[in-house]
Symmetry: C2
Subunit: 268 residues, 2 copies
């Protein structure tokens, strides 16, 4: 029974049979972004448990340099949703978190203890805090899914970082890197499905990088899949993913480097 269910999840990811000796990891294969929620409230004790999971993630050199800001006030939530390109799930999620990298706290605590962290403006400081905040958030999401919740990340939290900082009183050195919606999934949401992924050999290379990615089978698979989630097939996955990294797509985020500098990052 369990094997059958894991086989099903694998098939949805890769469109082919799993290897015979697959380890039992099904729960982690079943992620899907959940953008519609039912009315069942998520109690504080559940969120406290999930924050503990987030904090239990690895943190480079034990720095713990990230902060979650939950926004539950409905008027404030509406402003945040607007800053995130009016994505409806930001408005409707039972819980919404701004996941922030936080070099302000590091600086404040350092000053008090006589150690000035003079490298907070380096790319390294930005990278390591971005990594740590992301590890924390994903452990929180894995735990949330394990107890029946659904989640959706909101990259559009980076659209207008300074407006967000003003709204939530972020000091310099605090940057909202992404949002996180949490709630019990609505059964009515037929688009919240397990989506295909690239074949493993495209993303898992051995001993050295392989420079000739052939994703034609995946593009073909996606041409079949897109209509299932209401998307047209006039553009291949290959073209769509490239568009994600095109200036015309970035909705203000093309100037993120300037914004980051104004907020105290990347200044060295």
């Amino acid at each position: 029974m369990f094997q059958e269910s894991q086989r099903d999840a694998w098939l949805q990811r890769y469109g082919e049979e799993p290897p015979p000796d697959l380890a039992p990891v099904e729960a982690f294969l079943r992620h899907r972004s959940v953008r519609r929620y039912d009315d069942r409230p998520v109690p504080e004790g559940t969120i406290a448990a999930l924050v503990a999971c987030a904090q239990s993630a690895a943190t480079s050199s034990y720095a713990q340099a990230w902060t979650l800001v939950s926004v539950q006030d409905s008027e404030k939530r509406a402003v945040v949703a607007n800053l995130c390109g009016d994505q409806k799930q930001v408005l409707t999620a039972p819980w919404f978190f701004c996941v922030c990298i936080d070099l302000y706290r590091s600086h404040a605590l350092g000053e008090k203890s006589g150690v000035i962290p003079d490298a907070v403006g380096t790319a390294e400081a930005l990278m390591v805090t971005a990594v740590d905040a992301s590890l924390a958030a994903e452990r929180m999401v894995c735990a949330a899914e394990a107890i029946g919740l659904g989640a959706c990340y909101i990259g559009a939290l980076r659209n207008k970082p300074q407006e967000l900082a003003e709204l939530l009183d972020f000091p310099p050195g605090v940057f909202g890197i992404f949002g996180l919606c949490l709630g019990y999934p609505s059964e009515a949401d037929t688009r919240a499905v397990i989506k295909p992924r690239l074949p493993q050999p495209i993303v898992w290379h051995r001993e050295k990088y392989q420079r000739e990615p052939d994703v034609s089978a995946f593009d073909a698979r996606m041409e079949e899949f897109y209509p299932r989630i209401g998307m047209d097939t006039s553009t291949t996955w290959s073209a769509r993913q490239a568009r994600r990294f095109s200036l015309g797509y970035l909705q203000g985020r093309e100037t993120l480097d300037e914004r980051l500098r104004e907020m105290g990052f990347l200044t060295d």
Copy 2:
């Protein structure tokens, strides 16, 4: 029994009793960095399962712009370990992955399909790929821990990014953001313990950012904890975390912004 065990994990994180209505998330609270491994091999099928978990993480706009390069060849592994400041676990881990953000593939596939991703040099492209690679890795780590494996992230993979790129034949646009060691934990490793974390109110703020972090109780708790993992107590956690973001600490990473530019990032 289960409740008791989860209470124990919570106590080790926060040094105080859990709330009475805590959700059952114990497995995710028990993370610890595992740097010593036993001889039990980790079969390919297990790794394939874990890579599928990594791929099942959310990916912004479906871009899937990261790549894992496993390094199993012992001579090559020794060079990687040396580039990572000679951390022993890089040498001894049954599996080692370079987790890479990958804008090369995006560019190569875009070119083929007639869409040039002209924003790969933006801070946004760097941030979103760093986030996605980290989400993938942490889902892989959560799954690994669920089936009895242990993991250790290696931030020092960023120490000498160009030497690493040359060794593993990375094209421009591929950057090894951190390493990941995987293996069955050695029972003999008494330092692989659940480590304390900051009290929740320090990292979880409500409705707005709280600017006055008081970590004196945590500093005191750490003064008791440090000797348990063989560290001296002459420096507080507050001072140690600030040192993490000091130029003297960064082991070459203080020039990461220049290295990233040379590798095709942050050029816009």
